[in-house]
């Protein structure tokens, strides 16, 4: 096994993790500020991807497609916040799970109705495609590298937003005491809609970015949603820093598990058995990671008790 392959896989894991962060950040923000568990976050990811694919097909511009994904997901998020989610803040978690599950059914079938069951394709633009040579002579797809860069920029922007802006102050205040900031004259329902739309926009962006390397299809959001849940459980609910650390951990564990476990089992088993055992165990690795974190830190790495 060469070092170059290893570094490539590490970068893949990092890229996967950063994209998971975009999903998990919105989820954890929404949970932290509003106390809401939102299963429909995966649908917003899907909406972003479909909006991007539709706009890219119509205009041919990848940048416009990304803008469309942000706008479409944010608008969809604001609409469901105003019509449905708003009525769920005072309800228990069971109602939140069920109502947002109902939203998944509606969004998935609605998208199937509009776009059909066949996957759409979103192509990487020419100026982003092809490999790039990194220091040390490593060839790596330019687009994936850009995903890491864009993801890190968005993460930095999010941290800056929360640390330094007025909205960020309100978000942090909302996390520690919801009633108090309402009493201090902050328009709390507008804040909630804004936070929800912000989280939705992040999910939509992730959907569009990932849509270019995978196919854009109905049901693409939920596997990512569940991975984002694993990220949040590991990082601690409500913590953006936890979401970043958890996402990178999950991304690396999953990618490296798939890469290394079959090789490790190959050392003492015959190759075909090693591949099947290794890949079966690799598909479970992140959940084992989650179980291990739960054993030692039931509230996650950065969660407060």
């Amino acid at each position: 096994m060469s070092l170059i392959l290893m570094i490539e896989q590490l970068l893949n894991g990092l890229q996967f993790g950063i994209m998971l962060f975009l999903m998990a950040a919105g989820l954890t923000l929404i949970f932290g500020v509003m106390g809401l568990i939102n299963l429909a976050h995966g649908s917003l990811y899907m909406i972003g991807a479909f909006a991007a694919a539709a706009v890219a097909a119509a205009t041919g511009s990848f940048l416009l497609a990304l803008v469309a994904s942000l706008v479409a997901a944010a608008v969809a998020g604001a609409i469901i916040e105003l019509t449905v989610i708003r009525h769920l803040y005072a309800r228990d978690h069971l109602d939140q799970v069920l109502a947002t599950f109902a939203l998944i059914l509606i969004f998935s079938e609605g998208t199937r109705w509009v776009f059909g069951s066949f996957p759409l394709f979103l192509n990487i633009p020419d100026y982003l495609s092809g490999p790039i040579t990194l220091p040390g002579g490593i060839q790596y797809p330019f687009y994936r590298l850009m995903l890491i860069v864009v993801g890190l920029l968005v993460a930095a922007g999010l941290f800056a937003l929360i640390a330094w802006t007025r909205l960020g102050i309100q978000i942090r205040a909302g996390e520690s005491d919801r009633e108090m900031i309402g009493a201090l004259g902050v328009n709390i329902s507008r804040l909630y809609t804004l936070v929800f739309a912000l989280g939705a926009a992040l999910a939509g962006l992730a959907g569009a970015l990932i849509g270019a390397i995978q196919s854009v299809q109905v049901g693409m959001g939920e596997p990512v949603l569940i991975l984002a849940f694993v990220v949040i459980v590991i990082g601690g609910i409500g913590s953006i820093k936890g979401a970043l650390v958890g996402a990178v951990l999950v991304g690396l564990t999953d990618t490296m598990g798939r890469f290394l476990l079959p090789t490790i089992f190959g050392a003492f088993m015959d190759p075909s058995a090693a591949t099947s055992v290794g890949s079966a165990l690799a598909s479970m690795s992140i959940y084992v990671l989650m179980a291990a974190v739960l054993l030692f830190k039931p509230n996650g790495l950065y969660g407060n008790a």
Binding site: F31, I37, V84, H87, H93, L94, D95, V97, L98, A99, F101, A102, L103, I104, L105, I106, S108, E109, G110, R112, W113, E222, P223, I226, F229, V230, I232, V233, I237, S276, S279, A280, A282, S283, M284, Y287, M290, A291, L294, L295, P298, N299
Partner: protein, 327 residues
Amino acid sequence: MRRETVLNTVVFLGLLVIPLWAWVSNEPFTITLATRVAVLALAGVGLNVALGLGGLVSFGHAVFFGIGGYAMGVLASHSQTFTPMMEWPFLIEGTKSMPVIWLVAMIGSGLAALAIGALSLRTSGVYFIMITLAFGQMFYFFAISWPAYGGEDGLSIYVRNGFPGLNTLDPIQFFAICYVILGLAVFGVARLSRSSFGLALSAARQNATRVQSVGIGPYRLRLVAFVISGAITGLAGALFADLNRFVSPTMFSWQTSGEIMIFIILGGVGRLFGPIVGAALFILLEHFLGGLSDYWNIYLGALLLVVVLFAKGGLIGLVAGREVAHD
């Protein structure tokens, strides 16, 4: 008689009368629909022990449903190919006998519930929902990537497993088996909820601190409830696999978990017959709306949304009112 009791009796007898009528007028498809209702209701009865009695919002009950299904699939596939499951250190062979399969399904899913519950019950609230969902996904991906038993394609069993003295290939006889098991499970859960264990469990749902202060540990109560719940859902999974003579990783998927939960919500959370009413409603909707439109899930989603937002007690709550809701 209370209105809820009347409704329960009507639904439970209706579930018996409709297939009997279909049997007389020779409409096996209706019998199969009724069998589906009975089996899915059994899965819901299992989840209702955790969700309704224990207040544990498990979004991972597809794990137990799937383990039950695969218990049937693995045992029956070894039996139909005449290959032993393992020869060392002792010989285990496949079987086509339903009672043995049920036992294995319940033990297997009970053990899985013990492991998952022991970990996830250390947390509560949203964490618990996310963790059960994640473990469900873990089993799903494991079933997909494990090639020995069909992997992604699933396993077909050519002949339905046997039950001593009955011809299980006859739809009405297989329905009878499922119906009797459902009846026994409902009876058992009713007894359980009135036992001292069930009362303590309900109390732990309403106020865990008070239960703790009288010297009962909520963790152990919930873990036992979770195991019982998982075992019942596992049994339903074995029956479901036998109904279709097919198991696939779909049984483990998060949508399956969601559907089992929908049965309970449509019927009414914590109501003894809620899962039966809900499963019957679900199958009716699937059958009639599915016939009207390919996109029937939109209507299901809209209905679910309306029930959650405006009709918290589900169908039983609408009919019987809130008088019987204790909390």
